[in-house]
């Protein structure tokens, strides 16, 4: 209930603030000193300003009450002024509210002054500016400001709502002009509106609307990022679609007003009267649609943005994916034919304008060609989807999850899928359709993590894949999904060797947490944008000589902006740990190592030794170079690669290559997709 009241109050204060801004802009632009005397609309509009300010103040007060209840998690605090004061003093949203309330009070005072003072443009400009600051201050507590509070993060959103206010807030002012005549107007009176006032405002309406759309696209891009599926399956997406659907008729009405109705007011009496009627009716419709649009925008501003939204239930049995379908028969042909048809549609637009086709032909021919292009190109990109297809895994892609997934896979999946997920378990041949090869075939790249979660949860009808919903917890099923991703990445990583391929970061390893013998704890991610990591998975006592060599080379490695993290592959007793750490200058993990060992063992495969037979063999010693941006770039396995990094000079050359690189890709994601 508190959310519903909160949404209505947000709408109330936003709408009144926007109308205040728009009215002041309208008064500053449309009115002239000589219109003040005999224009009743001017007096009405000026009388409305204090009431709008009071509505804004009441809306802000209600907003403070509901925000206090939401912030504290106690509904009763909505009625507790002490809790309000605490919120105002102790939080950023409280301080922003204080600034907004002070500015709103100032607007109220100015609105009262405007009402009693003679006409002067500067008063409207000042009142509108303070009202705009009141509104813009709210953007400091918006989604846009959530990540970092900076001019570039807040400015597009602040500009968007202030410019939208000029348009939206101007509509009631236009209606005041149009309905200035008292009672039921005569046929002639309808056409005798203050045409100059409307024309002056209309002149700025178009550039303002273009700027509103442009800033809206910037904000939208930041809120959606690449989560386009969320636009068709989340509250945020539906409210955004509703907002755009409301905007379309508003733009059409605005265009008609500008091109048809307002110019007609200057023609003969009959045409002017018809234009006036049209304006009255459709600007009223536009204002009502705009009120609804602002309500949608209010809810949208408080909804989880598309880029963070969780698509719990994808409502369609299909989805479109270039990645998953590219290379399949028909996709390339469909894309080619579709592109050709789109080119033809573009040509038809140009021809329509240059050869002066009729309006119907100019619209119908390019539209038909575009529809044909989409009909040919899009269907081949469709693949099967499930309600869980776009569900985001709540379990991070880390060593703990992958190691747990490995354990669960070994306990539940090996008889059918085989010990290494190659689809060659002892029962595989008993099925009409044997399990797929999840190790060497790119199934995790072609299907979403949610697809795998669906199959694990509900099984696959017509195959031997059983239901695991009643056997494994949700978290466990996500662990298996993470393990399958790590398994597939491990196979792709066979291309990695002791030599860095410059400027080609592509392998994202799982994050891990650790605590070391000297009491330090952290995660792999902590080194991002700071240090290259040499991750050493060692066995004791087999790796004794190598650890000694690294100890001696530690100063050189540190000088190369590299940290060494040593992780035992086997359990160490206290005596062994004491022996290893006696004079070692780099940290040895005492916590987190078993999970790192188990999950990073998946990166043991090389081109010469893909290790596909049986359960596979984990080498006794492995070393990995992870660059400053979180990507696995080189690997040395003494048992396979020979002397390799025993030549510290060779190791330093690889590190030097990494140190010279700039950031080429965004850092690896914390979750699989």
């Amino acid at each position: 209930m508190i959310e519903v009241i909160g949404a209505l109050l947000r709408w109330l204060q936003l709408a009144s603030n926007m109308i205040l801004i728009g009215s002041c802009v309208f008064l500053a632009i449309a009115a002239r000193a000589n219109t003040a005397v005999d224009a009743p609309w001017l007096a009405r509009l000026q009388r409305a300003l204090p009431w709008l300010s009071v509505t804004l103040l009441l809306g802000l007060l209600g907003l403070l009450a509901t925000t206090t209840a939401q912030a504290t998690g106690v509904a009763e605090n909505a009625w507790h002024p002490g809790a309000w004061l605490e919120l105002l003093q102790k939080t950023r949203i409280g301080r922003i509210w204080t600034v907004r309330a002070a500015l709103a009070l100032l607007v109220f005072g100015m609105a009262l002054y405007i009402r009693v003072s003679p006409w002067a443009r500067w008063r409207y400009v000042l009142c509108g500016t303070v009202a705009a600051l009141t509104l813009a201050a709210g953007s400091l507590a918006s989604h846009s400001a959530a990540g970092e509070l900076s001019l570039t993060s807040v400015l597009p959103y602040a500009l968007h709502i202030v410019l939208a206010s000029v348009w939206f807030g101007g509509l009631p002012a236009i209606l005041t002009v149009l309905f200035a005549t008292s009672g039921k107007p005569s046929h002639e009176e309808v056409g005798r509106v203050d045409i100059q006032a409307l024309k002056r405002f209309s002149a700025i309406a178009l550039p303002v609307m273009i700027a509103v759309v442009a800033t809206g696209i910037i904000v939208l891009d930041r809120m959606v990022d690449t989560s386009y599926a969320a636009l068709a399956a989340t509250s945020y997406g539906w409210f955004l679609n509703t907002k755009l659907a409301l905007l379309a008729p508003i733009l059409v009405i605005g265009a008609c007003a500008r091109r048809i109705w307002i110019p007609s007011l200057e023609q003969n009496a009959d045409v002017a009267a018809a234009g006036g009627q049209g304006l009255r009716k459709w600007v009223t419709v536009e204002f009502v649609l705009a009120l609804l649009l602002v309500l949608v925008a209010t809810v949208l501003a408080n909804a989880v943005p598309a880029k963070h939204a969780v698509i719990e239930n994808w409502p369609y049995p299909f989805r479109f994916s270039i990645d998953a379908t590219w290379g399949e028969s028909g996709v390339l042909i469909g894309a080619g034919v579709g592109a050709a048809l789109l080119v033809l549609a573009g040509g038809a637009v140009v021809l329509g304008w240059t050869k002066r086709w009729g309006t119907k032909s100019r619209i119908a021919i390019p539209a038909a060609l575009t529809a044909c292009a989409l009909a040919v190109a899009v269907p081949p990109l469709a693949i099967q989807a499930y309600p869980e297809t776009y569900r985001k895994t709540p379990v991070p892609f880390d060593a703990i999850s992958v190691a747990n997934g490995a354990t669960l896979f070994a306990a539940n999946c090996v008889p059918c899928h085989g010990p290494q997920a190659k689809g060659n378990g002892v029962l595989a041949k008993t099925f009409a359709k044997p399990p797929v090869d999840l190790l060497t075939e790119p199934h995790t790249a072609k299907h979403t993590a949610g697809d795998f979660f669906h199959w694990l949860t509900y099984g696959i009808p017509g195959t031997g894949m059983p239901v695991f919903a009643d056997k494994l917890s949700e978290e466990d099923r996500w662990d298996i999904v993470n393990f399958l991703h790590a398994t597939s990445r491990g196979y792709q990583a066979r291309l990695i060797n002791p030599y860095v391929a410059p400027n080609q970061p592509y392998m994202a390893p799982q994050n891990f947490s650790y605590a070391t013998h000297d009491g330090v704890s952290g995660t792999l991610k902590d080194f991002r944008r700071q240090k290259t990591v040499l991750l050493v998975l060692f066995s004791w006592p087999e790796s004794r000589a190598r650890l000694d060599q690294l100890r001696l080379a530690y100063a050189t490695l540190s000088g190369g902006n590299t940290v060494v993290l040593a992780m035992p592959l086997n359990d160490l007793n206290p005596e062994d740990l004491a022996a290893i750490t006696a004079d070692i200058p780099f940290p040895v993990a005492t916590q987190g190592a078993p999970e790192v060992a188990r999950s990073y063992a998946l990166f043991r495969r090389t081109l010469s030794n893909p290790d596909l037979a049986g359960e596979g063999t984990v080498p006794k010693h492995m070393e990995f170079l992870i660059d400053r941006y979180g990507y696995l770039r080189a690997r040395w396995i003494p048992a396979v690669d020979g002397t390799g990094w025993t030549d510290i000079g060779e190791l330093m050359r690889q590190i030097d290559l990494l140190n010279r690189e700039k950031e080429l890709r965004p850092p690896p994601d914390d979750h699989v997709h």
Partner: protein, 132 residues
Amino acid sequence: MESWAVHALKRVVVGAAIAMCLHAAPALAHSMLVKAEPPRRAVLAKPPAQVRLWFNEEIEGDYASLVVLDAEKHPVTEIKPQLAPDDRKSIVLPMPELAPGKYSVKFRVLSVDGHVVESAFDFTVKGKVQKK
């Protein structure tokens, strides 16, 4: 007399406004927990001296709640969490000496943009669990 369009729109607006307010989502979090110490579901050889959480947005320290519950759902400490002195995106709760067993971390924080983040995770301290 009102035009048909205005009349119809009034009905649509009232209906849509009610529907929209009923759909108005609670202030759901879009801030996220990005790191935890101890990590979620960690199995620790040594009990942690503190629980520390990192978020992707700055946190209002006075409105942060962080509780660690033992296997019997009893809080292990009455101390309130504090903002980390060096990082406004992080909160810290010092721990007493924890016995071996499974623990749940429950948190509710208010990010500076007014959104609430609420979740929970477990960790385990290795060793022989004393039966009560």
